[in-house]
Symmetry: C2
Subunit: 113 residues, 2 copies
């Protein structure tokens, strides 16, 4: 592979996009091996609990407070806290606060369904 | 897979560990599909430029300022900025500042060499 000449630098703050009707998912990087996204949630918005059989996901709260579900448990995550959603585990995140919530999510490998 | 009952929440701040002799790598999550680590660099410390044929890596600066190399380029990344090191591209990070540097790094898939 040729050496790349322009580094793909993304600012998490500048990349944020919020939508009035539902959680906005902003793609930062998408490769054959991983996805890196920002989930941007207005107060009251949620990513519904779901699961992927063959992909692990790391969630990192980069702004605000999250109500994170993994498996049978829901916990509040503060800014700078991370959680792992292992393959096959039901998981989701919601914004139960009065402030905007931004979560960095890395999924590996990408999935098609 | 059984539903997990204890969510593995990690605080990026609490997980930091610095070492006087070299960059400290703190493992947050290690699965079959990804590694999620914190790289903790005192001023002057570096992860030497290297590459992996089959793994992509996302770097996110969570504290301090990084001098990030990907391919033939070095750029300064500030807190809240991210870069992608695609498989096969030489990459590394160093702390050219006077403050401690902490970088979240997700590698997918894990590699053995």
């Amino acid at each position: 592979m040729d050496r790349i000449r322009v580094m793909d630098v993304r600012s998490l703050r500048d990349a944020r996009r919020f939508a009035a009707d539902k959680m906005a998912k902003v793609g930062l990087y998408a490769t054959e091996r991983l996805w890196c996204d920002l989930y941007c949630l207005e107060p009251g918005q949620a990513q519904e609990v779901h699961s992927h059989a063959g992909s692990d996901k790391v969630y990192v709260v980069v702004g605000g407070r999250a109500l994170m579900t993994v498996g049978g448990e829901e916990r509040e995550l503060l800014e700078g806290e991370a959680a792992l959603a292992p393959a096959g585990q039901p998981h989701g995140v919601r914004n139960g606060s009065e402030e905007r919530l931004t979560v960095l999510v890395v999924t590996a490998p990408p999935f098609t369904s």
